[in-house]
Amino acid sequence: MASYSTNQFKPGLKIMLDGVPHNIVENEMVKPGKGQAFNRVRVRNLLTGRTIERTFKSGDSVEGADIVDMEMQYLYNDGSAWHFMNTSNFEQLQASNEAVADAGQWLKGQEMCSVTLFNGEPIAVSPPNFVILRITQTDPGVRGDTATGGTKPATMETGAVVRVPLFIEEGSLLKIDTRTGEYVSRAKEE
């Protein structure tokens, strides 16, 4: 893997720190009066999601992290692992529960996801921005109430719980924004 000098630092660059891949969120060159210049960076740990600050001596080099984002289709979950397939060569990969984390609540099968690979191993999964899911449980709808703006919880077929308007009925198909976890609209039956 290539190494990067501090003058190549920029947001989005993936580097190795203490053996763990990190994503640079912010980078600023600072220089106290007349002295050594430093690069102050905020980096996000790609395994834990935690953000920390580090200061490098300007001119130092850091090893790059072998991080690749790949579009893969979600197949199924066998209880201990989540199975994804590369649709161009049909190769399959297994992602752990830790790697899939919150993304799992939106997946029922067939969705194209962005899988982040570190040294070829999945470490994170992003679901599609929008998914269409059926409600398996919610309180009975309040007919005609489309104006008051009230909401109620609804459990989706994947187990996710979403706040929906009061008029929505159990069994409905909904479009949901996975980035916010919010209801967008009703979806048509296929």
Binding site: M29, K31, P32, K34, Q36, A37, F38, T55, K57, V62
Partner: protein
């Protein structure tokens, strides 16, 4: 093609007005404006500065990182109080607050110490920032205020532990480099204690950060150097100057050793400066002030581009 200036006309006017006020101030005070070469035979000796080398027909020349050495030769030749407004060049990384070429005000006052010089710097800063009052505090006082290690007294291991605890990524060589660790501490102190909304002259530096400032004996001895920091931005750096050739030569040797330890190219020592000091530099204090940064603060900008005519051509 984006050919337009990055500075709007009001910013250009503010720059012109500030330069005029500075010239008026020094004219009234009897300080002579001088004009020294920007291309020199030697580059900076300071390990933290990188000179830009220029290939010329008769050999390599260096764009000056400041007019300091040339102005000291004028002082040694009896020029009296002098000032210069010129371009200075640095080969280091560029940033929001750093450009490879920038405008510097440098001046020297005979018989001044660093405190009298701070008074005059404050007068000049007031032309651009009339509302700001400038505190004065020592580096040790700022460290104590922020419960950080005392930069004069802490041993190198303590400084390294402190830096690591604050997120510094240090190689074993870095952890033994006391100057580097003090630079880290200073950056930390400025960021925590003199950030947005703060304005202060920081003075009396540890000996390792004396640059070319005189040392005042005491317990601990301190370097009579100051930095003006406003809103976390370093605006000026001044010294009660070293005037004897022997001390200056020792400081050059120390910088050369530090360059070698850091794997940097050795500096070409300015022999003309040493010869000038040998013939006698009058007791004086001198300071360099960043005109672009002062304008940036005056106009409430957070980047140098809006105060430089063409602030983004090179970055």
């Amino acid at each position: 093609m984006d050919w337009r200036p990055t500075a709007a006309r009001p910013a250009l006017l503010a720059r012109a007005a500030l330069l005029q006020q500075i010239r008026q101030h020094f004219g009234a005070a009897g300080v002579m404006e001088v004009d020294t070469p920007l291309l020199g035979l030697t580059g900076a000796a300071d390990p933290a500065l990188q000179s830009i080398a220029v290939p010329c027909a008769d050999g390599t020349r260096y764009l000056q990182t400041s007019p300091e050495f040339a102005m000291k030769r004028l002082l040694a030749a009896g020029a009296g109080d002098i000032y210069q407004i010129c371009k200075a060049f640095r080969g280091e990384e560029q940033s929001r607050l750093h450009r490879g070429e920038f405008t510097m005000l440098e001046f020297y006052r005979l018989g001044f110490d660093h405190h009298r010089l701070m008074d005059e710097v404050a007068q000049i800063v007031r032309f651009a920032l009339p509302q700001r009052s400038l505190e004065r505090l020592t580096v040790a006082a700022l460290a104590a205020r922020l419960a950080c290690p005392d930069p004069h007294l802490a041993d190198t291991a303590t400084l390294a532990d402190f830096a690591r605890g604050e997120g510094a990524v240090l190689s074993p060589a870095d952890a033994a480099d006391r100057v580097l660790l003090l630079d880290f501490l200073l950056e930390h102190l400025v960021r925590l204690g003199l950030g947005s909304g703060q304005a202060a002259f920081l003075y009396d530096f540890p000996l390792e950060q004396r640059a070319y400032a005189r040392v005042r004996p005491g317990a601990p001895p301190v370097a009579e150097r100051f930095e003006l920091i406003i809103d976390g931005v370093e605006l000026a750096n001044g010294y009660h100057e070293v005037t004897d050739a022997e001390t200056q030569a020792a400081l050059f040797a120390r910088e050369a050793a530090l360059r070698a330890a850091r794997g940097l190219p050795p500096p070409l020592l300015d022999q003309q400066l040493l010869a000038a000091l040998d013939s006698g530099l009058p007791p004086c204090a001198g300071v360099a002030l960043g005109i672009d940064r002062l304008l940036m603060l005056a106009l409430g900008a957070t980047d140098l581009s809006p105060v430089m005519a063409f602030g983004r051509d090179l970055i």
